[in-house]
């Protein structure tokens, strides 16, 4: 298992580098460098363009040097915690991200909980009751969930919520709690605002998980060791809970790595539609205003977080699967 973990950790490094290259490419993608864009924008706003500042920025980010040098400088800065400066917000990128990232994580994590707490039991049910009405209904609902774009779902739910309550579901807190200090009331208000977005973010993931759980469980149910256990006189329900479920958990855990990117994507688009104070709307605005340092950094951070999640799921797999643990 040690060598598995070490190998897994070592794989992490080239993947990180690749992701940083992609993020850097995003920053570099629009024509012209960002300082020029900044100067143009300052001019457009009617501000005085400070030549010294411009030159200082050029020197700091190595603009004008070959791309690979700029990349190294950028990476070096990041390692020191400097993600660059946002033009639109006129703030260090790291500050903006730090303000918003916790909320993004909160939503993604809640969605993650929803995905697994809904997806697994439903997938299980529809496998055990294969070809029953229940199976068809659940599978079909799952398909619909998979087929509906997140933003559409968000819009429809907002609309339904609005029609039903006459209130708009926007933001994380209701007006009365927005600036209040923490209390139970505020906490419940948060929960109240949390579950709908989390549900929306998790829909596609849940639907995907249902299919995976169902398929894996059906596969396992056909295995000979299930027959062996049945021949021992084990009851059907214990048999399913003990053997196939135990084995179907492995692919489900290894699937976390592919649920996470979907959740992050879902979080971005849902936040934009609902107007949550998370990273999503910032990313959109950064892209619209070509605030590339901000955009690139966000892509970098989201990707790295996903990678870490994948890493954790792989390590978890090593812990629960004796075959990996014993290096088979």
């Amino acid at each position: 298992m040690q060598s598995y973990i070490i190998r897994r950790l070592l794989y992490f490094i080239p993947t990180l580098i690749l992701i940083s290259v992609i993020s850097f490419a995003i920053i570099q993608a629009p024509p012209g460098d960002f300082v020029t864009t900044l100067a143009v924008q300052m001019e457009a706003r009617g501000d005085q363009v400070d030549e010294d500042l411009i030159n200082a920025l050029r020197a700091r980010y190595g603009l004008g040097k070959p791309l690979w040098q700029q990349y190294l400088i950028w990476i070096g800065n990041i390692l020191q915690g400097d993600l660059g400066v946002s033009m639109a917000y006129n703030q260090p990128v790291s500050r903006i991200i730090m303000d918003r990232l916790p909320w993004s994580l909160l939503f993604s994590f809640s969605a993650f909980i929803i995905v697994y707490s809904i997806g697994f039991p439903i997938g299980f049910l529809s496998a055990v009751r294969q070809y029953s009405i229940l199976d068809y209904v659940l599978t079909f609902t799952g398909f619909i969930g998979l087929a509906t774009p997140n933003f559409l779902l968000a819009l429809v739910l907002l609309w339904v919520y609005f029609e039903a309550t006459g209130q708009a579901l926007v933001g994380i807190f209701s007006v009365e709690y927005a600036v209040a200090s923490w209390s139970f009331g505020k906490f419940f208000d948060l929960l109240n605002h949390l579950w709908i977005p989390a549900l929306i973010i998790g829909t596609a993931g849940t639907a995907g998980l249902i299919r995976i759980v169902r398929a894996n469980l059906l596969d396992e149910l056909k295995k000979l060791y299930v027959t062996t256990a049945r021949a021992k006189g084990v009851s059907e329900i214990r048999l399913i809970l003990k053997y196939p479920v135990r084995l179907a958990i492995n692919p489900v855990i290894s699937n976390i790595g592919y649920v996470l990117p979907a959740l992050i994507s879902g979080e971005v688009i849902t936040s934009i539609v609902i107007g949550l104070p998370t990273i999503g709307p910032v990313l959109l605005r950064a892209l619209q205003t070509e605030d590339m340092f901000l955009a690139g950094s966000i892509v970098l951070i989201l990707s790295v977080l996903t990678l870490v999640g994948t890493l954790v799921s792989d390590l978890l797999l090593a812990v629960i699967d004796p075959r990996i643990r014993h290096g088979v």
Binding site: K222, K223, L224, Y225, T227, T228, A229, R230, A231, K232, G233, V234, S235, E236, K242, Y243, R246, L247, N250, I320, D321, P322, R323, H326, V328
Partner: protein, 355 residues
């Protein structure tokens, strides 16, 4: 050993006119077509046949563990319990408590693939303990000790270590031994072994077979051994059933079957296997191939391959098992008093179908 002729010997299992079908895609496969098998206390019954003859399906019906697409259409599988009560297994709900009490507790089974028969993520202890706790919850001893005892009994060296191993950490032979320990741990009366050594090497196969034989005799078990290997049958079984395409074509005590086989299929089968002790340059063969079980030939299912075909009767009428000598039955018109020999046909006519 004898079966039907001695009324004093009590049977443990009595299969009567069993029919099992499988649905595959749109077609129905008749896997077992009217099989009668009787197993007595302490007796080793061998069921031999080639692929698709229905021997495995028959063994699965004993425990009512057919896969979802399989169905017992008719017939009885009766089991005589310890208190003399007789239970028809086919009448039980496969999920019912009574059925589950029989499985493992009264009738235990070992399977062909020792690797696939164990869950790869549970320890040996975990999997053996399950049956024990279900059927024989120990009073005085701890489960662990009991398992170690059984593992030692089946010849696993260092059972204290093997008990905590995962199946993939054991060799094929050791896994099959653990499988046997698992089957025996609940003190069953009948042991059903479905091709228990097919996946093993010859020398390991010999060890495992010896172990099964030893355990059977020591514990006074009835053994139902299913195999395609006549060599194994010759040395393991007391009474033999030969199956072809879902039917029993011949049955009798093991010596009789090998010394004077009556059904042309049995005869050909015995002649066609290469033998160490009788090297021949050229092997006798059975012509043709085993037909697909979804399209059975009419009449006697063996007639398209039979070199002793009599005539139309073989193509049209299905022969039934009839006693050819004491305790020895064959389903063939060659030995039936009912057959009408058509003029101009000899017993050794060989069908020569156009190629």
């Amino acid at each position: 050993m004898n079966s039907d002729s001695s009324p004093n010997r009590e049977w443990l299992i009595d299969i009567k006119d069993l029919h099992v079908t499988f649905s595959q895609d749109d077609k129905t496969v008749n896997a077992v077509n009217g099989v009668d098998i009787r197993v007595h206390k302490g007796e080793a019954v061998g069921i031999v046949g080639e692929s698709g003859c229905g021997k495995t399906v028959t063994s699965y019906s004993l425990l009512n563990i057919l896969p979802l697409n399989g169905r017992i259409v008719s017939g009885e599988v009766r089991y005589r319990g310890g208190n003399g009560s007789i239970i028809d297994i086919t009448k039980l709900n496969p999920r019912s408590r009574e059925m589950r009490k029989l499985r493992g507790g009264e009738i235990a089974m070992i399977f062909q693939e020792p690797m696939a028969s164990f869950s790869p993520v549970h320890t040996i202890k975990d999997q053996i303990a399950e049956g024990i706790l279900l059927h024989q919850p120990p009073k005085d001893k701890k489960v662990r000790e009991k398992i170690i005892e059984y593992l030692g009994m089946v010849g696993i060296s260092n059972p204290e270590r093997a008990i905590d191993a995962y199946p993939f950490q054991l060799s094929g032979g050791m896994r099959q031994r653990a499988m046997i320990a698992m089957a025996l741990a609940c003190n069953p009366k009948v042991l059903v072994a479905d091709e228990p050594t097919t996946a093993l090497d010859v020398t390991i196969q010999a060890q495992v077979l010896m172990l099964i034989k030893e355990m059977q005799q020591e514990l006074g078990l009835a053994l139902v051994l299913i195999t395609h290997d006549l060599g194994i049958i010759a040395h393991m079984a007391d009474f033999v059933y030969v199956m072809y395409l879902g039917r029993v074509v011949e049955k009798g005590p093991v010596a009789t079957i090998f010394d004077s086989p009556k059904h042309p299929y049995t005869r050909d089968l015995i002649r066609s296997i290469p033998k160490l002790d009788r090297p021949e340059k050229r092997l006798a063969t059975i012509q043709g191939n085993v037909p697909d079980a979804s399209r059975l030939p009419s009449g006697c299912a063996f007639h398209p391959r039979c070199r002793e075909i009599i005539g139309e009767i073989c193509r049209q009428t299905e022969p039934v098992l009839e006693e050819v000598e004491a305790d020895h039955f064959a389903a063939c018109f060659l030995h039936s008093p009912k057959r009408e020999i058509e003029p101009g046909t000899g017993e050794s006519e060989i069908v020569q179908q156009p190629q």
